[in-house]
């Protein structure tokens, strides 16, 4: 079923862009079909478990390169979130973009491409698959953030998001490669726990990848900027799914890094910093959407902290919160989008009294908001309780630090939730609203009701969460508790709600506040701009375009590279020649080469080089390598012709060279020549193993079905190399044509 679903997404991308040209609504509806099918399939899988869906598409078996997917319990939970919320977001978009001025034809297909990439990411079972789909989500996210690309600020925000998450992706790749090298497998399930220095380095690299994707301090600066995207995108990518990719990665990698101390310390430091700084950010901003975005940074910080702790209870709480957060945060974003469309503003200084004008929306938002604050009777409450129990259950200094951080973070969460609900819906001058749009209210209501239903019918979310948690950590046999009674965690929870709402009320009185600047984002942009200025100047320095300097550099490097071989040559045992023809040919070759350096005219030099080549092919013949000789001869012929044709454009003789430069060139050329000669002598006198000639010959006749060994190697045994080489040839040829055309247009 996995390949069918992925193919359905691919087909949907094409179908949605075709349909999108006719009508935006049709494009969105077509795009919602693949996620709908996936959701239904995933819900069906819930009952047919424990049989996991699995699919593998081999590419290069020797390198373990394959697309490998496996849908385990955690992946199933993520699938339901990604595809289920996806369907609702597509439906919501039909209302968001209105019926007259719909989105671009590429919007539905980009969003669907993201949805498919996200599925590939959560289903991935090999490091390559994981990385590829990880990057796909970054790229599709870039397209979606930059959707309103005519505005400068949007393009800058999209670039910042791409650069930060893209750089994180490279860091992740490095970490994964270290893991693959240590445990000799590319299959995620089979990677052994990392230890020692390699484990530490890999843990940090993977953490950077997760932190960039999940917008953790100090990489969080891209997330508020990404709010430049249309609200359906923000609700889907930047709250429910893509930012969860980093948390998901931490959940999956947790068992592998269980022994690396740095995983816990750095991960938790990152998480706690984000939890607190995100909460403060949410209290500082006036734009309702930005308030939610900063709230997301804070919530993700809590998730990252829990998965960094990695104790069974923390893992369980993390997954419960992952589910709850996806539901309530997506709801709140959808609500903000509706308010934005119906009132024309998201600024809380201008909003107010919406409970009267938008009662249904207000109810939906309140239910989601209370879930976010962790108030009963909602799914968020049970998740927050589990998180509190997890940190209170730790011992010693860990208990103190983590408990304080989580409690403080939760107080901030309650405060910004209160501020959000009061300032938008609470008392105040009623904002003018346009008529309701059912397509926008309904999806938010569905998600919000899911949060309530999850509390009432606790068995359903409990099954999802506890199975996934047990899969990650066999000791995590907990279940969600609807009403814990007067236990410590519950009392702490009530205190948090009280303190937080009082703080929120106090702050929400001060409706008009100066908009905080975004220094972090400015620094990130400055860094990106810096790269963009340094890179060209560095390139101009290295790739200066002076052919003689290139050749001298390469020759000097080749000469230096031969130094290690010098000690391996048995100088006294060298045979100077095998047959008398060799010294004769050597004289011809060396003579022509020397003549080439003395000839004043370029044509003469080209012909001298041709003579060198011909001598070489004669030498090949004397060694019994007709194939090589033939190729060399033909290549020489073509090169000489090309030289002669090219020389028509140049001065006939070489330009004068100043004496020092000339001397340097002579020295380096001499060193290069001597170095290569000695390296060849070393290679042919002290081989480090037996040449695999016999094996290859046998293989050539059996597998390749040919007797010309060289050619069978070229076209069969090492055909991938040949493919690469001919692609290079074709690229060079296209380059030649392009250069010639530039010249033509200049002449014309």
């Amino acid at each position: 079923m996995i390949p069918v679903l992925l193919a359905a997404h691919l087909a949907g991308i094409v179908g949605a862009s075709v349909a999108g040209y006719r009508s935006a609504r049709a494009g969105l509806l077509v795009a919602s079909i693949p996620p709908a099918i996936t959701t239904i399939w995933a819900l069906g899988q819930l009952n047919s478990a424990p049989q996991q869906a699995f699919y593998e598409l081999h590419w290069v078996q020797g390198l373990g390169l394959s697309l490998r997917f496996s849908v385990d319990e955690l992946a199933l939970l993520m699938t339901i979130l990604v595809s289920g919320i996806g369907v609702l977001v597509f439906f919501y978009s039909t209302g968001y973009f209105g019926s007259t001025a719909g989105p671009d034809a590429r919007f539905p297909s980009s969003l669907l491409a993201f949805s498919g990439s996200m599925l590939g990411l959560v289903w991935a079972d090999s490091v390559w698959t994981l990385f590829i789909f990880w990057e796909f989500t970054s790229i599709t996210s870039f397209l979606l953030v930059g959707y309103k690309h005519v505005e400068d600020s949007v393009r800058i925000a999209a670039r910042r998001a791409l650069m930060i998450t893209g750089a994180g992706g490279l860091s992740l790749l490095a970490g994964l490669l270290l893991l693959v090298r240590e445990s000799n497998t590319t299959i995620l399930d089979q990677i052994s726990p990392a230890t020692g220095t390699v484990g530490t380095v890999a843990a940090v690299l993977v953490l950077i990848g997760a932190a960039t994707k999940s917008a953790q301090v100090p990489f969080h600066v891209w997330l508020p900027g990404a709010m430049a995207a249309p609200t359906p995108v923000s609700a889907y990518l930047h709250s429910a799914t893509m930012v969860k990719a980093g948390v998901f990665l931490m959940a999956v990698m947790g068992p592998i890094f269980a022994n690396a101390a740095v995983w816990k310390t750095v991960g938790a430091a990152c998480g706690i910093a984000s939890m607190l700084w995100g909460g403060i950010g949410a209290l500082r901003h006036r734009d309702a959407k930005l308030m939610l975005a900063w709230g997301t940074v804070s919530q993700l910080g809590l998730l990252v902290t829990l998965f960094a702790i990695g104790s069974p209870k923390a893992v369980f709480a993390g997954i419960a919160l992952l589910l709850a957060h996806a539901l309530f945060k997506a709801t709140l974003f959808l609500v903000v989008g509706e308010i934005d469309i119906r009132t024309g503003t998201r600024d809380i200084a201008e909003l107010g009294g919406l409970w009267r004008a938008m009662p249904l929306t207000c109810a939906v938002a309140t239910a989601a908001g209370l879930s976010m604050a962790g108030a009963p009777p909602l799914l968020g409450f049970m998740a927050k309780e589990a998180a509190l129990e997890a940190v209170l259950g730790l011992a010693g200094a860990e208990q103190l630090v983590f408990s304080c951080a989580v409690i403080l973070g939760s107080v901030l969460t309650v405060a910004y939730t209160t501020r959000f609900l009061i300032t938008v819906f609470g008392p105040g001058p009623a904002t003018v609203v346009s008529p309701p749009r059912l397509a926008m209210t309904a999806p938010a209501a569905v998600l919000s009701i899911a949060g309530i239903a999850g509390y009432i019918f606790v068995a359903a979310p409990n099954r999802l969460v506890s199975n996934a948690a047990i899969e990650l950590n066999a000791a995590a046999t907990y279940s969600l508790i609807a009403w814990p009674g007067l236990k410590t965690a519950f009392v702490v929870s009530l205190a948090i709600l009280l303190v937080g709402s009082l703080l929120g009320l106090a702050i929400s009185r001060q409706r008009v506040r100066p908009t905080p600047g975004s220094q972090g984002a400015d620094w990130a942009d400055a860094a990106i701009d810096g790269i963009l200025t340094v890179a060209p100047s560095l390139t101009a320095r290295i790739q200066h375009g002076s052919l003689p300097v290139y050749v001298v550099t390469m020759t000097a490097m080749a000469a230096l590279a031969t130094i290690p071989f010098l000690s391996e040559i048995p100088y006294l045992q060298l045979d100077l020649w095998n047959s008398l023809i060799e010294p004769f040919l050597a004289i011809v070759i060396v003579g022509s080469a020397i003549a080439g350096t003395f000839v004043g005219s370029r044509l003469g030099a080209a012909l001298a080089l041709g003579a060198v080549g011909l001598g070489m092919s004669a030498l090949f013949v004397s060694y019994g390598a007709p194939d090589l000789a033939l190729t060399q001869l033909l290549v020489e012929t073509i090169i000489v012709v090309a030289f002669v044709l090219g020389l028509g454009r140049l001065r006939q003789s070489f330009p004068p060279v100043d004496t020092t430069w000339k001397a340097a060139r002579i020295v380096i050329a001499g060193a290069g020549g001597i170095g290569v000669t000695l390296a060849i002598a070393a290679a042919s006198t002290s081989p480090t193993g037996t040449p695999p000639l016999a094996d290859v010959s046998e293989q050539a006749v059996e597998e390749g079905g040919g007797k010309n060994l060289v050619n069978v190697i070229l076209t069969d045994l090492r055909a991938l190399d040949t493919l690469g080489e001919v692609v290079v040839l074709a690229t060079v040829a296209i380059g030649i044509l392009a250069l010639a055309r530039i010249n033509q247009t200049e002449v014309a």
Partner: protein, 147 residues
């Protein structure tokens, strides 16, 4: 380009071309078991085109077409086995009994080699085309009366 106007050269090259092409084709098919192969064949055929171009007998310009079809052929040969469940670059060998030639063995490697040949020919033509364009255009501007 210095096009030779000598009729001896012209006739000689006209006469030699079919022979050289035959040699190129021979090298291409011989390559599997004897010296030769797609690269060498492409160079020989490219050399024929070079000779004919330098003497002004023809003026090939279709390098891009050859290059792109060559790339399509090599990548398609490489990827085709994936369709029927094989791996990248799976080799297929087919033996055919032909009346005159006897048993002829041929495989997907031959098609791959053909792609290599086409790319090499394309490269040679690109070289000729690219390196010789400036002069004719310069002459054209002269013909229009510009300095």
């Amino acid at each position: 380009m210095t096009a030779s106007r000598s009729s001896i050269v012209h006739v000689g090259i006209r006469a030699a071309s079919p022979l050289a092409i035959t040699v190129g084709v021979y090298l291409f098919f011989a390559g599997h078991s004897q010296p030769g192969g797609g690269f060498a064949a492409g160079l020989v055929l490219g050399a024929v085109i070079t000779l004919r171009t330098v003497t002004g007998l023809q003026r090939p310009t279709n390098a891009t077409g050859l290059l792109s079809s060559g790339i399509v052929i090599v990548t398609a040969t490489a990827a085709a086995p994936l369709i029927w469940g094989g791996t990248f670059f799976d080799q297929r060998v087919v033996s055919v009994e032909l009346p005159v030639l006897g048993t002829v063995k041929s495989g997907s490697a031959l098609i791959f080699d053909a792609g290599v040949t086409i790319i090499v020919i394309g490269l040679v033509i690109a070289l000729l085309d690219g390196l010789s364009t400036s002069e004719p255009s310069a002459i054209e501007t002269d013909a229009e009366g510009r300095p």
